[in-house]
């Protein structure tokens, strides 16, 4: 099961500079664990010690914010697209 994950500039030090990486998992949490195995340290940048998404990190599955779809328990399917972005101001 391959899921494409878009990585923001600020986290590419963990992915050897790669903009997009591939991972697998039935849930977002499992996907992040899989990615952490390939790219050490990535999980610590996305998830707090308490096991929640970092306040200033937004993760989208097929462009929908995962905080509204089950957060780390959000179910994933083959072909889904995951985007990670830092939170920024608008207005």
């Amino acid at each position: 099961m391959a899921i494409e994950v878009r990585i923001p500039t600020i986290l590419r030090s963990h992915t050897g500079g790669a903009k997009t990486v591939e991972g697998s998992g039935d849930t977002l949490g499992a996907l992040i664990d899989d990615l952490d195995g390939q790219y050490g340290g990535l999980k610590g940048r996305l998830v707090t010690d308490e096991g929640a998404l970092h306040r200033f990190v937004n993760v989208y599955v097929n462009d929908e914010d995962v905080r509204f779809t089950g957060a780390l328990d959000t179910a994933l399917e083959d072909g889904d697209s995951v985007t990670v972005l830092p939170a920024v101001a608008g207005g």
Partner: protein, 316 residues
């Protein structure tokens, strides 16, 4: 239409117009709240007036005071217009990668612009403004991201206007920037129509705009409360541009690019309702007209050319 004592008195009361060609069926309908019909041409006039009037009531403002505000453009333009009428000066801290028209309008209304680096996006504009106020305590920062009067403008204005015009509303879709529109109108509509879906469309910019040095420089507006929302979509420039063009081509509405992003999210909700076979009355916000974005190249050439032209720009 009516007669008003001044331009500021004419604020709000904007029309809600149907989008018959973009609506997917007679049972799943889209309605656009035309916020470009405000005094300076954007929804931000509502928040600017409320924030200034709240500060006047608190005694923070008197003629001659200088306001300072971090803004990517529209809030600054609205504040500049009201400030000039009321005798205040205004300094806007604005990322350098915002459109020429926004800068020209600000200068025309008498505001001074302090540019923040493009690479830091709006986050750095916010940080710079906070640092300037800390060093110069005589400056007054209304701070749109944390000012309750911003959300209240929509709780008392935008929300009630929409409900009055569309009592059968099932969805409200708006842009997420300061979060004032969604928090204010969203809370009001949820109180009156508990089953309503409140949907945020957040612009997804090019890479440059997210070039923070570390994640802890990220920013979530103090006004934001995610329990008000049903869901939140990230909309990239290509989809936003495609929908912006559909608005003008199919419905005759010449809107700014963020309104295209909002239409994209609204159409996603419309598609879900259609698939589920349930009727829907979806109100969406048109934040401003397209005029201020002509120089970005968003309206010329192919979609792909327009997308390339927007790379690195703060288009919402």
């Amino acid at each position: 239409m009516a007669r008003f004592n001044s331009l500021i008195d004419s604020l709000g009361g904007t029309p809600l117009v149907g989008l018959p060609r973009l609506s997917p069926s007679p049972d799943v309908r889209l309605w656009a709240k035309l916020e470009d019909r405000n005094p300076t041409g954007s929804i931000k006039d509502r928040a600017a007036l409320y924030m200034i009037e709240a500060a006047e009531k608190d005694g923070r403002l008197e003629p001659g005071v200088t306001l300072l505000e971090p803004t990517s453009g529209n809030t600054g333009i609205s504040l500049a217009m009201v400030a000039r009428q009321r005798g205040y000066d205004l300094i806007c801290v604005m990322p350098e990668n915002t459109s020429r028209e926004r800068r020209q309008l600000l200068e025309m209304y008498g505001a001074r612009i302090v540019s923040s680096p493009a690479a830091g996006g709006s986050n750095q504009a916010v940080a710079m403004a906070k640092a300037m106020v800390a060093q110069n305590p005589q400056l007054v920062m209304l701070y749109q991201y944390g000012n309750e009067a911003n959300a209240r403008a929509h709780y008392e204005g935008t929300g009630p206007e929409i409900l009055a015009d569309l009592p059968t509303i099932t969805h409200f879709v708006a842009g997420l920037g300061t979060t004032g529109t969604l928090m204010g109108a969203g809370r009001y509509l949820r109180e009156k129509v508990p089953s309503i879906q409140i949907v945020a469309a957040e612009p997804r910019y090019g890479e440059l705009v997210y070039g923070l040095r570390n994640i802890d420089e990220g920013f979530v507006p103090e006004l934001y409360d995610d329990t008000v929302l049903t869901t939140r979509f990230s909309v990239g420039p290509l989809e936003a541009l495609r929908r912006t063009r559909e608005l003008v081509e199919q419905e005759g509405i010449f809107a700014g690019i963020s309104s295209g992003a909002i239409l994209h999210a609204a159409l996603a909700m419309a598609g879900k309702a259609l698939d589920a076979g349930v009727p829907a009355e979806i109100a969406l916000v048109v934040c401003d007209g397209g005029w201020k974005y002509l120089s970005t190249g968003a309206y010329a050439g192919t979609l792909e050319e327009a997308e390339a032209a927007l790379e690195g720009q703060l288009w919402a």
